[in-house]
């Protein structure tokens, strides 16, 4: 066993509450009168890659700050790896790697020196293996060559990578990554996705926030959607997708007539001047099609579409990608 493996092997694996890596109960944070996070009940299963989605300003970073004990909840409770935060932070945090609201390092130090300082600042960072661990972490995020450069000379993408390297200095049970691909080019984003897959395959639970669904859709097993501080939905990706009701669309010149038929079946149709669409809400599309034709609607096209996850996300959050507050 190399020293690095030895270091990894000492990670305590005391079982935690009901297989949840993170659990919040009615978690609330108010700034003044505004509930920026409003009665949040999050449940992040151990071993999942959990996408924490929401438009800018929906309260993701504020939630993450409470998870990590940086700020105190106004109400409610956080369990991190089965430990109540912030009371038992000293037990939980050594097993958690985090990136919060972007990377932050000392501009006058090199990437390597920055990692040395942060590793020396807490428990479980064996000085004997520090150099090796730093090199491995830099290599994982593709910064080996830039490691001796001063942080102030780093691009935003490189800074994010250094932040990730810092979260990977030791083996962690849980990674909490707040918008880790912010400021990265498509290539970098792809690399981070692959890195997250690797980590998850290793058994690390990854909690990942983003305002861009497309970026994390491909790696997540679970998703929670936030809007204006509220949790709109959470669950496995598959469940969220199947919750979305299919929509039928009929292309026709008899728009008024078609709307009447759809309305008679209790569906609320939307239309433009050559088509009508409506959420099916459990009705069989073949019956609707027959009714339309029997009513004399001249059908030029008929389709049933399941909305993309993106549509679900937009319909859940309402505002889409606009800044919420």
């Amino acid at each position: 066993m190399t020293t690095i493996e030895a270091e990894r092997a000492v990670v305590p694996s005391e079982p935690f509450g009901g297989g949840s890596a993170i659990r919040t109960t009615e978690l609330t944070k108010r700034f003044g009168d505004v509930a920026v996070v409003d009665r949040l009940n999050l449940e992040v299963p151990a071993g999942s890659v959990f996408g924490f989605l929401g438009p800018n300003g929906s309260g993701k970073t504020t939630t993450i700050r409470m998870l990590l004990g940086l700020i105190a909840p106004s109400e409610g409770e956080v369990q991190l790896l089965g430990r109540t935060m912030p009371g038992r932070a000293a037990e939980a945090l050594p097993r958690v790697g985090a990136l919060v609201e972007g990377p932050a390092f000392y501009p006058w130090l090199s990437g390597r020196q920055n990692l040395e300082r942060i590793d020396a600042a807490g428990p479980e960072g064996d000085a004997a293996t520090r150099r090796t661990r730093i090199e491995l972490a830099l290599e994982r995020v593709g910064l080996t060559a830039a490691g001796k450069k001063k942080y102030k000379a780093y691009s935003l993408g490189m800074r994010q990578r250094l932040g990730l390297a810092s979260a990977l200095l030791r083996r962690r049970e849980l990674l909490i990554l707040d918008e880790p691909t912010n400021g990265m080019d498509p290539q970098g984003t792809r690399e981070i996705r692959n890195l997250i897959r690797e980590l998850a395959a290793d058994g690390t639970t990854v909690f990942l926030s983003s305002h861009l669904l497309a970026e994390i859709e491909q790696v997540c097993t679970h998703v929670a959607v936030m809007s204006l501080g509220r949790l709109l939905s959470q669950g496995s990706l598959a469940a969220l997708q199947s919750d979305a009701t299919p929509v039928m669309r009929v292309d026709t010149v008899d728009v008024e007539l078609a709307l009447g038929v759809v309305g008679a079946r209790g569906l609320s149709g939307r239309h433009d001047d050559r088509s009508v669409s409506a959420e099916l809400g459990g009705q069989a599309p073949e019956d609707l099609c027959r009714l339309l034709v029997e009513a004399g609607v001249r059908v030029t096209g008929f389709a049933v579409e399941r909305p993309s996850l993106e549509d679900v996300f937009v319909s859940l959050t309402g505002e889409g990608f606009d800044v919420a507050r």
């Binding site: 700050r65 990590l68 004990g69 940086l70 700020i71 105190a72 932070a89 000293a90 945090l93 050594p94 958690v96 985090a98 919060v100 609201e101 972007g102 990377p103 932050a104 390092f105 000392y106 501009p107 006058w108 040395e116 300082r117 942060i118 020396a120 600042a121 807490g122 428990p123 810092s166």
Partner: protein, 266 residues
């Protein structure tokens, strides 16, 4: 972590520059005295007059010259930046998530500031001693009462004086550290800390408030001069040490109460 913090603090260009400036101040003054051919009489700062006879006194003069402004300025910069500087960079949140532990982080920061408070007057005294002994004749130290001390005893007393100046700065350091936990803007904490020294200095000159004079932060700052009597009188020195300890206790506790409960949003 303390060793890493000390290396981090004293490795910073800014801190090194502060120490260099602190050394340059007495060097400049002593050189100026040498060039002008004498202290020019009158009542300048203590010990300045003796430099021309004995260069060793330059170490004491250096302390006297830097104590009112330069040393407090340097301590305010280092202490005021201790926590607020990390907050403004955003590194505070990563230290806390590491987890460094809030109390432990404050403790380590406090010890590093103490190290600076001690190092700074020694740098000043050493710079004075070196330039004084190069430019002026060196001899045994004559006490304020007129006796002469052995070289060893003189050296010990000068070191003691530097140490006492360091202790005198601790109350200010604690105020600076407390201010540093209040804000995410280091310059704000530094300015507030300097404001306290200036206020104490001003109040100290107003006879109408003489009732509070004994409790002012700066009240006993010059008590280290008592070390240079042939029979050292300890009352003023002890009182100053106790007063500084009081300030450290009060503001240290306030800093702890603040840092362990505050929301870290930066």
């Amino acid at each position: 972590m303390l060793r890493a913090e000390l290396a981090h603090l004293f490795g910073r260009r800014r801190v090194q520059a502060l120490l260099v400036i602190l050394a340059l101040v007495p060097i400049g003054v002593v050189v100026a005295i040498r060039l002008s051919g004498g202290p020019g009489g009158g009542d300048g700062p203590a010990f300045l007059g003796q430099i021309t006879n004995n260069g060793v006194f330059a170490a004491l003069a250096a302390l006297t010259i830097t104590l009112p402004i330069f040393l407090p300025l340097a301590v305010a910069i280092v202490a005021g930046d201790a926590i607020a500087g990390e907050a403004s960079l955003g590194t505070l949140r990563y230290l806390l998530v590491r987890p460094a532990g809030r109390s432990r982080l404050l403790g380590v920061k406090a010890l590093a500031v103490v190290a600076f408070c001690v190092a700074a007057p020694f740098v000043v005294a050493a710079a004075g001693l070196i330039v004084g002994s190069v430019l002026f004749p060196v001899g045994r130290v004559t006490t304020l009462s007129g006796d002469t001390l052995s070289i060893a005893s003189g050296a010990i007393r000068i070191a003691g004086a530097a140490g006492l100046v360091g202790v005198s700065l601790l109350g200010l350091a604690a105020i600076g550290l407390f201010a540093s936990t209040l804000t995410d803007i280091p310059i704000g904490a530094i300015a507030a800390t300097l404001g306290v020294v200036i206020l104490a200095g001003v109040l100290g000159t107003i006879p109408q408030v003489s009732a509070i004079h004994p409790w002012l932060l700066t009240n006993g700052w010059l008590s280290y001069g008592d070390l240079l009597r042939s029979h050292v009188t300890w009352t003023a020195i002890t009182r100053n040490v106790a007063l500084q300890a009081g300030y450290v206790l009060v503001f240290g506790a306030a800093a702890w109460a603040r840092l362990t409960t505050r929301d870290v949003l930066a």
